[in-house]
């Protein structure tokens, strides 16, 4: 079965507001990575976490291996934040990250 459950599948935000994306894991993961799909279809690395939290500008991510989840918080959303966001996680000793199904974010004025 799926090891990574990503939610929500779609999210609509007004410009200037914020929200959180979440990935729940059905097994203990060693690390998680968050990506955004750019307009050309490639994946841009946002964060890599083995534990704790990281912050970059208006984005903040957290990873709790014990509680089996990771979050990506977006604050003060801008129009250019629109896109599809993916989490990918891997269990210990496994070189194969498992991707969530993605969250399609639309930021509108």
């Amino acid at each position: 079965g799926d090891q990574v459950e990503q939610s929500p599948s779609a999210l609509s935000l007004h410009e200037g507001t914020g929200s959180a994306l979440r990935c729940n894991f059905t097994t203990t993961m060693r690390a998680v990575q968050w990506f955004r799909k750019n307009s050309r279809g490639s994946l841009i690395n946002l964060f890599y976490l083995a534990s704790g939290t990281k912050e970059n500008g208006r984005l903040k991510s957290a990873f709790d291996s014990k509680e089996r989840y990771s979050t990506l918080h977006i604050r003060d959303a801008q129009l250019e934040d629109s896109g599809t966001y993916f989490c990918a996680a891997r269990s210990g000793g496994n070189y194969k990250p498992t991707f969530g199904k993605g969250t399609s974010l639309v930021v509108h004025p």
Binding site: G41, S42, N45, F86, P97
Partner: protein, 113 residues
């Protein structure tokens, strides 16, 4: 140079014809991956090389081949393209030490007609 390069960026192929996609990185990364990405789906891992060892996923075992003649270069080969192969193909690499981040290339958009 912390980029992963892919060639070509766009590929048009005929059904039944072979397709060869190329990926390269100069970061001396241990592992290189190939994913297939279709709209509204998660990236699907096809295969990966850990050093010189090729690991292919069970459900794509016979459909895709790959070679890694040196650390920097990895190819994805489709012997006979079918319509269902139309997708974005993403290459990624990962260092063997330090922060274990995957770095993705820009992708090759394959259209099979």
């Amino acid at each position: 140079d912390t980029t992963v390069k892919q060639n070509p960026r766009y590929k048009l192929a005929r059904v039944g014809k072979p397709v060869n996609l190329i990926c390269s990185q100069t970061m001396n990364h241990d592992t290189m991956y190939w994913y297939q990405k279709k709209p509204n789906q998660a990236p699907k891992l096809l295969l990966f090389y850990y050093d010189k060892i090729l690991n292919r996923e069970a459900d794509t075992f016979e459909k895709f081949q790959s070679s890694r003649p040196n650390n920097s270069f990895c190819s994805l080969y489709i012997g006979s393209a079918g319509l269902e192969y139309s997708a974005m193909y993403l290459c990624a690499s990962r260092p063997g030490t330090g922060e274990d981040t995957q770095y993705f290339g820009p992708g090759t958009r394959l259209l099979v007609l």
